[in-house]
Symmetry: C2
Subunit: 255 residues, 2 copies
């Protein structure tokens, strides 16, 4: 017998941002292999499954990709419904291809269940659309974390060529991001937002300018975060600045 | 009294790719304003709501954006739960900002519920990840459809600067897309895929090369489609070509 492996997007964090299909598969799952970013409440939907953590967070404990691939293949040979649960969408910065290739090579059936990616969740939290008529109709999704052999700064080329940019897994590299983009001609005054733990109770949103990114990134914690960059944020940033000015004036008047 | 407007992503098509939050809101909705791309089964989840079509498809009937904005504001003044249901994710090519701005100006509370965007659904259907270690870590989401005053070809700059590109609402413009990208130095041999009606029973997937895009686009129908472009598709394309060759050889042997 050989079962089927479902590569399932768990969405950005909140359990109710899982798709109906993902929730139903978790309910039917025999085994669930899950990433570090998946919330316990989401995992709880897999009521009768064996749950196995294979989480990766940059700089922390991680199970080698080859070993994950092997475990997926082994599980599919023993169980009917194997779920590989990944934060966000499996096909955007989820390293799904390595697992798909391993499953294909082993002749194991698989299906990808798309999920809500972090960029869309962050944009929803901000109440700012990533595209906007007359302002932004190109959006670049990048990560500055290079694998061996990848050109160092190709991410920056893509960021500077797009109206709006979303930087995944970049909060820990904000000094480099700021310096590289400014050196490539992106104005230091470009509005940026850092959204950490989008859709979770612990969420944090900080707005500012590209030149302030290193300071902003220090304000946020160690949760998963995306950086959004572009003119679409201008209005939200200006609203925040006027609000802060109003508060400061009020405080000054009271003194 | 003033209700709340939920700008909700309906996902790529299949009803079970709706999020749990979206499904729950539809169940509670008093009024639902929906786009042309939303499936009837999805709408049916809004059991006791008044359902109002305000759909837009390029070149067909569409309700003017200003009129939609006004109707959302009016509805929120009469009902507690107003859902604005948009195909895919509201914040990626969904023109959500115009509605958000109108709601904000009218002092109406709103919330954005993110959804699965078409690119992730198309990638899932293909079984090909949009990012891949050592091959692609930048992904550009663009539309070649310009609003008044937008530079004609900025979308092409973003496409050529990224490893993988997703072109929304581009299937009807494939001649222009092919000519523009080749003129800008993208190889005619770059693998492309057109995915129409992703996640629906009527789905169609065609793989080929950039120089064949005009022909490929004619093969697909009039459903919503995304074009994916980039080296991540190379392996899928080569597998298809070998399969076709094998079939041709077998047919030749039988004659």
């Amino acid at each position: 017998m050989s079962g089927k492996v479902y590569l399932v997007g768990a969405g950005p964090g909140a359990t109710d941002l899982l798709t109906l299909r993902a929730a139903s598969l978790l309910g039917r799952a025999d085994v669930v292999f899950y990433d570090a970013l998946v919330a316990p409440q989401t995992l709880a939907l897999a009521a009768h499954a064996t749950k196995i953590a294979v989480g990766k967070r940059s700089g922390r404990y991680s199970t080698a990709q080859k070993f994950i691939n092997k475990r997926l293949v082994d599980a599919a040979r023993r169980h009917a419904v194997v779920v590989r649960l990944k934060g966000g969408d499996p096909m955007l910065f989820g390293r799904a291809q390595e697992e798909i290739d391993a499953l294909t090579a082993a002749g194991i059936e698989f299906e990808v269940v798309p999920g809500v990616t972090a960029a869309c969740a962050a944009s929803a939290e901000l109440g700012v659309s990533l595209t906007r008529r007359g302002v932004a109709r190109t959006v670049s999704f990048v990560t500055p974390r290079a694998a061996n052999g990848e050109p160092e700064n190709d991410w920056a080329k893509s960021v500077t060529a797009a109206d709006t940019a979303i930087i995944y897994m970049g909060a820990g590299l904000s000094d480099t991001i700021c310096a590289t983009l400014v050196a490539r001609g992106r104005a230091g005054s470009t509005p940026v937002a850092v959204v950490e733990d989008a859709t979770l109770p612990a969420k944090r949103i900080v707005l500012g300018r590209l030149c302030e990114l290193p300071r902003i990134a220090r304000e946020i914690g160690s949760g998963p975060a995306v950086i959004i960059l572009g003119e679409v944020l201008r209005q939200a940033l200006e609203t925040q600045i006027s609000r802060e000015k109003r508060i400061l004036r009020r405080c000054a008047n009271q003194e």
